[in-house]
């Protein structure tokens, strides 16, 4: 047993402090992203989720420049972007896409400036890679309490918003008739997305946080037929991919002669592989006609003719 374990897990894995911090923060980010991601996908807001990640990278870069905790930078910019995107009143869905695109562009532009200033003022060339693509084994353990607090706040908010959010994701009119303040619920949801994205940004990086937000949720939506199950599955899949990715990255030091592969790459690769497998299985099962889905004989024509 011990030998089998040591084949999969390189020595020192469980004793390593950076691994433990990465596992805790990564796990928290994965749970929050999975739960929030299910709503983001069914609301058709994947692009908005990615936009928040891009804009929050400007906050992360700013925090780096000021030498403060990057999580607070990601949080601040993310929440600001979520609020401004939701408060712009739009009449058509295409207009919403446009607003999202403009905000994303502006945010990334600011990120480019701040990252450039990082390089020129403190010659920390690593900042750009850390902010955009994450650097899980270098996360400071001091961030853990704030990260856990943000995670708990996001999960509690989702718990409170659960039913009205589900209803307004289904159909805004249906929700409005039942007295749901649809716009307010949409704004609160996007703010929670910003919290999830900020957590992911310090783990897998701002750009790759979309993978953690959308991937596990998309896989879960292929498998579950009720909302609570989809949410639970998305969280489990996210955690499994994150911890699997951490293990893979840690082990990769062995095969690559001490360079190792980035954790972010390993996590995203696992999510992508899982999605392809699940989607392929589902597609395969759809090619075979299901017994319950036989087309009904159309009797209408015969009766009108007669």
């Amino acid at each position: 047993m011990t030998t089998l374990l040591s084949l999969v897990v390189a020595p020192g894995f469980f004793a390593s402090e950076p691994v433990r911090t990465a596992a805790v923060i990564g796990g928290a980010a994965a749970i929050v992203s999975g739960v929030v991601g299910v709503f983001t996908v069914i609301r058709g807001q994947s692009f908005a989720g990615h936009a928040l990640a891009d804009v929050s990278s400007a906050g992360g870069a700013g925090a780096f420049l000021l030498g403060i905790n990057p999580l607070s930078g990601f949080l601040l910019m993310g929440v600001l972007a979520a609020t401004s995107m939701e408060l712009v009143r739009v009449d058509r869905p295409s207009e919403r896409d446009l607003v999202t695109g403009i905000v994303t562009g502006a945010g990334l532009g600011v990120a480019a400036l701040l990252l450039y200033l990082n390089v020129t003022t403190s010659s920390t060339t690593g900042a750009a890679v850390t902010i955009m693509f994450g650097s899980m084994f270098t996360i400071s353990a001091s961030i853990v309490p704030l990260a856990i607090a943000v995670g708990l706040a996001a999960l509690s908010a989702m718990g409170v918003l659960y039913r009205p959010l589900l209803l307004s994701s289904l159909d805004p009119n249906l929700a409005a008739v039942q007295g749901v303040p649809v716009r307010l619920i949409g704004l609160l949801h996007l703010i929670v997305v910003a919290l999830a994205v900020a957590l992911s940004a310090i783990t897998v990086g701002a750009i790759l946080s979309t993978a953690l937000l959308i991937g596990p949720a998309a896989i879960a939506l292929n498998l579950a037929k009720r909302p609570s199950v989809a949410i639970f599955l998305a969280a489990v899949i996210g955690v499994a991919a994150t911890w699997g990715g951490i293990l893979l990255a840690y082990d990769s030091y062995e095969w690559t002669g001490g360079h190792g592969w980035p954790v972010s790459f390993c996590i995203v690769a696992l999510i992508f592989a899982a999605y392809v497998v699940v989607a392929e299985i589902r597609l395969g099962s759809r090619r075979q006609p299901e017994p319950g889905l036989k087309p009904r004989p159309r009797e209408g024509r015969a009766t009108t003719a007669g």
Partner: protein, 272 residues
């Protein structure tokens, strides 16, 4: 003002959307338990009238009065409801959201809640597919689930926006029979919009016939007549009854009658 038996009164209501007049001087009232068809071609203002009753649109003049309770006592089935096949929701989940979807917090499993949902699913004959994903159901089955969602809070008024569109003829007959039955059993007033009145002829107590933003209202036999509809359309219209079906036909060459007919594909399709 509502009289004792009235659930909804629309009085001389006119509606404009971004400056364009859509509805003009609409006037009708519905009594408790009545079944009313809101009939008109596409673009005649049916959806706007329903949205006005729902309070999403304010009349520019006139009034819309609901029985005490307002919007909270309306059940609503929206038009062109697109149910994504990936939506992780069973028929029973959607019906349960009708009961308490506006409440905050995660629903706790409760026997009373489950029983109410089961009863409602049974009432609309949706029990056999209660545990299937809504996105995998046929159009007629989805309508039944949406009707259950709207009825579970026992509204006084049920509004349905084109619930019969895109259904095969057998499903249309099934949904109409279901609505007639539940409206009688629950004493719910039904206001249903449709571009074809024929499937509803046997169940309507009252008709609101919309054309060019104006309405003729009353009993079917009082409204669906050559002289009434001709006055409403502003040119000569023939109302023809064939095998118990009603055809509304514009005379050839009458003003913009040709365009009216073209904008109203169903009436053309009625011609055997």
């Amino acid at each position: 003002m509502l009289t004792r038996s009235e659930v909804l009164a629309v009085r001389q209501a006119s509606v404009s959307l971004s400056g364009h007049p859509i509805l003009k001087d609409i006037d009708f009232a519905l009594n408790a338990g009545e079944f009313c068809g809101l009939i008109g071609a596409n673009g005649s203002g049916k959806t706007t009238l329903l949205r006005t009753v729902l309070g999403f649109v304010m009349p520019t003049s006139g009034s819309v009065t609901m029985e005490a309770g307002g919007r909270a006592s309306i059940g609503y089935v929206p038009q062109k409801f697109i149910l994504d096949p990936y939506m992780p929701m069973r028929a029973r989940d959607l019906v349960a959201l009708g009961l308490d979807g506006n409440r905050l917090g995660v629903p706790l499993p409760s026997r009373g809640r489950r029983r109410k949902v089961d009863e409602m699913l049974e009432a609309v004959e949706a029990t056999p597919f209660a545990d299937q994903r809504i996105g995998s159901l046929s159009g007629g089955q989805q309508q039944r689930v949406l009707i259950a969602h709207a009825l579970i809070r026992r509204p006084r008024l049920l509004l349905l926006d084109e619930p019969l569109a895109n259904l095969d003829i057998r499903s249309v007959a099934g949904i109409v029979a279901l609505l007639r039955r539940v409206s009688r059993e629950l004493q719910t007033t039904v206001l249903l919009s449709a571009h074809d009145m024929n499937p509803l002829l046997s169940v309507m107590d009252r008709i609101v016939y919309l054309a060019h933003g104006r309405a003729a209202t009353g009993a079917i036999d009082a409204v669906v007549r050559t002289e009434v509809l001709s006055r409403l359309y502003g040119y000569h219209i023939d109302v023809v009854r064939v095998h118990g079906r009603v055809l509304v036909v514009a005379a050839e060459g009458e003003g913009d009658a040709q365009t009216a007919i073209q904008r109203d594909p169903v009436h053309v399709a009625q011609v055997p």
